[in-house]
């Protein structure tokens, strides 16, 4: 099941039999900038923050899921290939097409967010997603990266049937 969404919406929620997925794309991403950076050997990372909250009228929303997905493209200038790395799973893949690398950064397809058993039917939930693009290698920080505003932030309400 796919929740209704208008054309401008970049967040699509899929309620499957066991799990709730989401598909997100970054229409606002500057592909030329990404391509230039990648061609210059600059590592690009897309940090996706996904979450699901239970909407409450008179109190803070109850958080059910909070997921951070880090996707990274590491250029190999000598072989003219791009190493696509998903840090959470550790899976990496080498591609020789720049478009594939950009697509890897700008799309999150059918990503499982929350188990359906955690959700109650006919209850309003809200899924939100925010993406931050990093240029260069991500270093360990002792402070949260407050001053990097997200490239995209969106939320969408849904209910289980």
């Amino acid at each position: 099941m796919v929740c209704a969404a208008d054309k401008a919406t970049v967040l699509r929620i899929h309620i499957a039999k066991e799990v709730v997925h989401c598909s997100v794309e970054l229409p606002e991403i500057d592909k030329n900038d990404i391509a230039t950076n990648l061609k210059d050997g600059v590592e690009i990372s897309a940090i996706w923050h996904l979450g699901v909250v239970k909407v409450r009228d008179y109190w803070l929303n109850d958080q059910l899921a909070d997921i951070t997905v880090s996707r990274r493209v590491k250029p190999d200038l000598l072989s003219r290939s791009w190493q696509l790395i998903e840090d959470a799973s550790g899976i990496s893949r080498r591609v020789y097409s720049l478009d594939q690398a950009i697509y890897f950064l700008s799309h999150l397809q059918q990503f499982a967010v929350v188990d359906r058993s955690l959700l109650a039917p006919l209850t309003l939930y809200r899924m939100h997603v925010a993406v931050v693009i990093h240029h260069g290698a991500i270093k360990e920080r002792w402070l949260p990266d407050f001053w990097h505003s997200p490239l995209m932030s969106q939320q969408q309400d849904f209910k289980l049937p």
Partner: protein, 720 residues
Amino acid sequence: MKKVNLLRLMPLLLASILIAVTVLMWPGVDSEVGLLAWVNITVMLVLILLLLRYGVRLLRDRNQEPKPGSKLRARLVIGLVGLLLVPAMVIQLVASQMVDRGMDVWFDVRVDTLLDRALSLAQGFYERLDKDMKRSLLGYISDGVLIAAVGGNMEYRATGSYLSEIREREGWLKVELFDLNERQLGGVQSGGLSSLQVEPLSSTAKLSMQLGRVATELKANVDGEVAIGYAPLVGPTAVVGLLRVEMQLPEGVIQNARSVETDFRNYRHLEHNRQAISQTFTHVMLFVTLCVLLIAGLVALLFARRLTSPIGNLADALRRVTEGDLDVEIRDAPDDELGSLVRSFNKMTSRLRHHAVAIDQGQQALTKALDSSRERQFVLESLLANLHTGVLLVDGKGRVRLLNQAVVDILHLPDNWQPSIDLLQASQGNLQDIADFYSELKHQQEEHLQREFDISLSEGKQAHVLARGARLDASSSDFSGYLLVIDDISDVTEAQRNKAWAEVAQRLAHEIKNPLTPIKLSAERLQRRFRAQVDDPRVFDVCTQAIIAQVERLQRLIADFSTLARMPQPKIRHVVVNLLLHEMSDLFCSYRRIEVRFCDENWQCQCDPDQVRQVLINLMDNALAETNELIPIRLYTTFSDKWIEWHVEDDGEGMSDEVSARLFEAYYSTKATGSGLGLAIAKRIAEDHQGDLLLLSSAMPTHFCLRLPRLVEECRGVSA
């Protein structure tokens, strides 16, 4: 409008500059400077708030007196901060320029080109390796031995030997043969197999098998980097297996190539962050500048406070001393020149305190003495004001220093007689006797002088005064001059004269009255007995009649003398005024020119009616005698709360001033046969009634007024 001091506007000016700097330095949305920029912004905002608060407070208190030492403190802080601010800003500008120049040098086009070429070289090396490997692999796609081996038509040992032969011929590190099921059929490696575990085929290998194309990939392991090539083995109809080879890349070249790649990547990364680096440097410099300014400001503030605190205390203490608080003492005194100043100030206030106490005590004594002096002066002034004796105090230069009201009343002094008037110059004319008396007192040797003299007053009056003078010597007091005491003794003199005249009259009456009766009787007897015997009876009659007439006149004269000498006390009783007027009308009814105006029947007064009648008759007789028959004479009364007045007036020619001035003197008469005692007696009667006889007008009309009190008893009581 009060001019605003520039110093008061300095915090607001600095705040404005900081606001402009803050706006300029505000980080953009995609700014990479991060935390440092926001720290700088926060520090500047805090500084702006502090400066605005301070500036607004200064402007709000611009009409108030600044705290002692605050101006000096502000100048010191501004001066010290300014001393650091200017070089810090110059250094920041120069450093920014140097960084920009340095960046231009770092990211020079030549470096860029060099790195691009180096990378191209490295990429070319890899491409050549890739092409060589692919070209070599293409030769084995249709290799019959390998296809046979994949098809199971060849022994394992023979397959291994063939693979070893290929490895040695091509110089590869490792050669492996797989069938379609990705099962390894054989494999050889330089120096022997490193592991018995077969490495699974990668996605590239699977893709190569599926597509039937030669493919390569790179792989890094512990020994370095290897290039892996895949060559699908194509049978008569389809792909039957896969040849996987590994070639060890030359370590030195690979390291160099990777080094070039790393340098290129870093260079590009820095180039991408060129603006961020510049901004970071600017913010670091700004942060350092702000820290320096803050530290300098705090140090300057502490230094200025330490320096100006004693000055402020001194100024505050001086203000309190100016306001009269002499109990000020500054306790905290630093051990320097300011401390010496503070100690001197404490000594000064201590002395001032002692002097103030002494002055206060002296002032109290002076106030007490002044009060006593004022009390004495008040007593003296009251005494002089209530004294009926005139007092004149003249200083050594002849100027009047003091005169009381009595001397003004006695001498009828004009208004210009005020203290400081010159006595000799003012005493001209009728007061010449006063000037003469003062001159005599001044020039005589004696200390005291006493004289009696007459002074002509205004309106033709005269006063007989007794003047006594005394010289005031400066040895007994600070004042030297003369004291003149003047008494009006006119009444006393007149009383003495009247008394003397009464005694004379009484003696004369006693001595003359006794022989007059026998003389008169004898003359009448001679006239009766010897008239017939004389030759000339007419002459005899004239002579005897003259004797009798003169004797009678002498008897009347003696009677008047007696009356004057022994005037009886008036017998006071209630009298109806109109009754007396009726009596007078009846008495003078034969004179038609006399008009008597009657009054209200209820008017009464207390008097002796006989004496009042005597006065009225005298006045009417005088009017009849001094006017001709055509001149009308009026008698009437007026009545008030206190007085009853009897008026006698005629329209005759009246009398001269000389006559009117002596009119009431005894024995002064304008009539040939008058004794001159009538008006004197009338005046005495009026005075015995506590009233007076007045000449209101001496001519046209000649107007006499007998003023008597309505209640004589009360008047007596008051006079008593």
